[in-house]
Amino acid sequence: MDIINAINIGKKFGNNTVFDNLNFKVKKGEVVTVVGPSGKGKSTLLRCLIGLENIDSGTIEIDGKILVKDGIYVNSKKQSEILSEVGMVFQNYNLFPNLTVRQNLEIVNNDSKKIDMLLKRFGLYDRKDAYPANISGGQKQRLAIIRAMMLNPKIIFFDEPTSALDKDNRGEIVKLINELNAEKYTIVIVTHDKQFVDCLDSIIYDMT
């Protein structure tokens, strides 16, 4: 079953067409990497799928529910309900710098059992009172992943997950993604890092 089904979608910024008649399907439990040179709309596609940008034409279904049909969006309450199935790990994480590690999670969902469990599992428990400025790049990424998991999404999107990491940490993120996938999370990754794609067992969607 397709958990993401985008049919004939088009997106323009003014007169500049980013993509047109694009079809993008992801099956439940898959790991999909979206690759291609910069400027081809990888990030824009991802932003459309998580509701940060609106498409101009086409249809998007998420987990069988229609988000937008032939360019017309459902009402905002429904949108928000449908989009609660997706989590997002931004390229530069977009953590809240004025909140501690723990507060970054509490503000999304104040389930302290879950927070403690995840912090322990991802090795951040002893850093729970630190501010994002004081933790390492790898720790920030793990925090961003936990934060994306707080709303119990079915799909987690990653935008260029290796861009802010050095090579040693690349193995770690591959391991994390595989772990998440094993837990039935569907993963969509936008990247232009070929070596990273090679390390992953994923379905490649090329936007060249």
């Binding site: 989009l83 530069n92 004025n98």
Partner: protein
Amino acid sequence: MKSKIFVFLTVFVLCFNFLFSGLCSAENDEFVIGVDVNVPPMGFLGENGDVVGLDIDLAREVCKVMGKKLKVQPIDWDAKELELNTNKIDAIWNGMSYTPERDQNMLLTSAYMQNRQVLVVKKDANISNLDDLKQKNICGQKGSTGITSLKNSAVGKNAKTITELDNMVDCLNEVRLGKSEATVVDEVVVRYYFTKNSLQNDFKILDQELETEDYVIAVRKDNLELKNKIEKALKVVVEDGRAGEISKKWVGSNVITFSAIKEKESAMDNKNVNVFSELFQGLLVTLKLFAICWVMSIPLGLILCFLRRVRLKFVKIIIDVYIWIMRGTPLLLQIFFLFYGLPLMFPNLQMNDRFLVGVIAFVLNYVAYFAEIFRGGIKNVDKGQFESIKVLKIPKIKAMFRIIIPQMLRVCLPSICNESVALVKDTALIFSVGVIELLTTAKNLVNTNADILAYIIAAGIYLLICSLVNLIFKIWENKLKFE
């Protein structure tokens, strides 16, 4: 490049020259008198913007006799002693009445005219002296010398009613319409008014006065030579009839005489004014004003800043115009407008609490500045933060208070600190609606004691408050480092 430097240097030299010539303007053949330009008919702004009046004409004739050139310098009446004692002016000549206090601080000439508080009745009224006013209705201008002396006099005590009106013209109309039989007025002013409007045949002035003030001219305490010169010249002008003509021109009759001051009992009981306790009272007003304005403007500025982001175009336009006006006009003008202007436009909006008017004016002004500061701050918050908030579906209000505002504040604090320090100093402007705060207290003390100690202490207090504000903001900034 060279030519630019040349232009710059030329401008610089010109500016310097200008400054320097300004400093050295007190030429020897000039006689500079200080006048408050709001005292018709003695000295006031004429139709073409020059200072004109009875005193000015008289001073000009006296100057001719002394062989000097008259220069009229508008001054702040409250600072007249200071103007004189710092050599900025040579004399105060502006319908100034004799008081024992003034006699102590300055050297006063003999009186050159008497101003009386007199009673005006209708020309055809059957009233010819003060005794005829028993059981009659009398009116007068609210808060004037005349109404005070009326209330203290036998005439006032025997009157049927005493009505207080806003101004002299209203009082005269009362009499004309027969609502009151008489009104108490300033003789010089009423004579000027009668002459200007040809009303001599409608009213008459009773001969007996309620009170008399002597008008004198003041020079510096040590300037006996000048005092003698002025008196000598005045005598000449009075005796050859020039003074009489001037008097007739302005008030229709000759009120200029020349007589020695009748010694009056000194009202001043030489009490030693305690500079510190007076300044402390002023300080309390300043602090209260600062605290109230600060606590109100910051949240309101924040609200305005967020309102401006609402997707309603007219809200944005209204706020932008408001900010534009508040930042583009002097705060002093805004205070005047609120206190004097609004009640004229909308009589229902009469606000008599001066402190409150000051608070409203300051808050309105500072809200605009703070809103602009916050606008800059919100622009500085990374776009990614808003995207995170959206994707994570954090409720808007919660996101605002927990994420956006703390990050904004971190960016804005130095600017907010700047504005707060400016507010500490701007509080002094409330003197313009008659609230006595720290600076005004200091100014009054300097004036009465002829000693600048109060200024130095006031400066020290302002420095201290501003340093404290700075310190508090430093601590706050450190707390918002998020490290």
